[in-house]
Amino acid sequence: MKKPVVIIPCSGIGKAYGTICREAVYEVVERRRPDKARTLCLGLLTKGDEEAIDLLKESPCISVDGCAKKCSYKNIERMAEKTSIPFTIMDLFRKHRDLNPNDLDLGTVLHLGEGGKYLVHLLADEICHVMDRMGDKDE
């Protein structure tokens, strides 16, 4: 059986974008692709947990970041010496030019607004699309 894709959102706690990434990952691992994907605590990488690092070394990885600091991507890269497939909120806006963050009700870190929830679904769509392409390549 193929290893599940490990999808790690950033732990962004300062802005709603961190929550959008986190909820998009839950949307994928809990409901859309529960048999093909799982998540992992990003803090385990910051800590240097060997079990977590080993898991990443042997699994396909996706990072989902809410700001330009790209904490998820960089922690995976530095601690597991692995290049993840990167998703960022900025890329989502670049791809969907019709969306203006200033026009969206993103909500807060604790409670996303309608615009924030819309971005969660859009981001989950994008992640699933890439996961499906990864699956096609393997077959």
Partner: protein, 136 residues
């Protein structure tokens, strides 16, 4: 009390553990502190920035007396902070706080339970006050 030695802000770093409900709770607790209970007295930083960020980020626990809030005994926030930044003033773990409050863990990793988050945040707020009394 000498005001000059009273730290204005106390750092609180949540593990934010994405895999477990307690991780989601740590995140809610820090936001409740920052938005409601201690908005002028709390500072925070995303834990993984200790690796993804630069030297400025790594001085966080030197700049602020810091409390770490972990969701489990793996203590990622405490160990990560002490490895890259500075010794922490207090290392709190969610199950210990909940046990001391005689409460049960509620919520999921997707949704925290607001009353529990508030109760835990009030406990952390007491530690913040204690640190301020001690001068950090």
């Amino acid at each position: 009390m000498n005001e000059k030695t009273t730290p204005k802000r106390i750092g609180v770093i949540a593990c934010c553990g994405e895999e477990i409900p307690e991780g989601t709770l740590t995140r809610a607790v820090v936001r409740i502190l920052m938005e409601e209970l201690k908005p002028e007295e709390t500072a925070t930083i995303c834990l993984p920035l200790f690796i993804a960020g630069d030297e400025q980020e790594r001085t966080f626990a030197q700049s602020f007396p810091t409390i770490t809030l972990d969701g489990c005994e793996k203590r990622c926030a405490q160990i990560g902070t002490e490895k890259y930044s500075h010794t922490v003033a207090w290392a709190l773990v969610i199950p210990d706080i909940i046990k001391a409050l005689h409460l049960d863990m509620k919520g999921t990793r997707e949704e925290f339970e607001p009353d529990l988050a508030r109760a835990v945040a009030e406990q952390v707020a007491r530690r913040i006050e204690e640190l301020q009394r001690k001068g950090g």
